[in-house]
Amino acid sequence: MSEQKVNDLVIIGAGPAALSAAIYTTREDIQTLLYEKAVPGGLISTTDWVDNYPGFPDGIAGLELAENMRKQAERFGAVIEMGEVTDVKKEANGNIKLDTTDGEVFAKTVLIATGSGYRKIGVPGEEEYYARGVHYCATCDGAFYRDKKLVVVGGGNSAVQEAIFLTRFASHIDMLVRSDFRASDILVDRLEKEFKDKITVHKQTTTDQIIGEKIDNIDRVTKVVGTDKASGKQVEFQTDGVFVFVGLDPNTGFLKETAVELDEIDFVKSDDSLETSISGVFVAGDCRSGATMQIATAVGEGATAALRIREYLEG
């Protein structure tokens, strides 16, 4: 029987946390293999513009920042495989076995850096019209709404930022904010001053249903029904599409049946050295319990995890 290869480190995901860790580990000569199921660079590669990551005084396009991080990690020898990790298990011999869409992979240490995915609102019509009028990625799908009307759901930083991006295309945007803005003052200020003609904000307004019909034999969204919480009355917004930015849920579904302990809202628990409940398995970035969901902090946690992994490997 051929001897199975045991990698020094396998990183699950190739977002900012993962790539930052890989820059550190490869420079320390720790052989590092990353598995990525979607796009190296993670969520930032679908973000239009990043203004709060240090080192870029004028901001930087998310896709460019993602590409830069990937290149930097690869320069030092990180290898990124396209594939999804579906299970993580500690073997009796101390190695960690990962199931992937390409088969089994073994590692001395593992870093979980799977980030998070777009949260759904969970209303009728949302699933049915997915990618046919209901969207979660403005940079991917915004271009289909040139001179069209849109509804944006959400009131956090991403919602405001992406609504502003969508004004490049849309003729008008109704923004439905369930309570009040949670976005930073500087973003809200910009929205209210520079974009008030194009974006109408409806605070205290829930999104209850997305309605559509067949137009020219293609399913299209035509309106959103909500409730104005102040009056309790039903409100309707005629629209050609809906973009949803109501937060993120951790990509940890594949860990539920494993020995990696999750908190009550499914984020991965860790100790001060970012080690999880399985020794040798570490966690960094948006999927970690207590994460602050920023690129800068994901990158910082990635670097910290890399240093802890080095200590672990040195025994």
């Binding site: 896709l63 969207h135 991917c140 799908d141 271009a143 289909f144 709404y145 293609i218």
Partner: protein
């Protein structure tokens, strides 16, 4: 084997870059239709895919049969290329 590959893209779409890179790495030539640059071709993408999203990859085989892959979906793209 594919006779023709067409990809509908936009300037800002990260998943479009993944499809182009994958095809390039596998040595496939393709025609790119960027709907930011050619907005009049957006309707075409919609009619082919039924979806308001990019990338849309259309693989036409020697016998003129077609596969349409919406998004960056390796498990559909790889077999479609034959």
């Amino acid at each position: 084997m594919a006779k023709k590959i067409t990809i509908y893209t936009t300037n800002t779409c990260a998943y479009c870059g993944m499809v182009k890179k994958y095809l390039g790495n596998k040595g496939h030539e393709f025609e790119e239709i960027n709907i930011d640059q050619q907005p009049h071709r957006q309707q075409e993408a919609l009619e082919i895919s039924g979806a308001l999203t990019v990338p849309v990859t259309v693989v036409t085989r020697e016998d003129d049969s077609q596969s349409v892959i919406v998004g960056w979906n390796l498990s559909q793209l790889a077999p479609a290329l034959g």
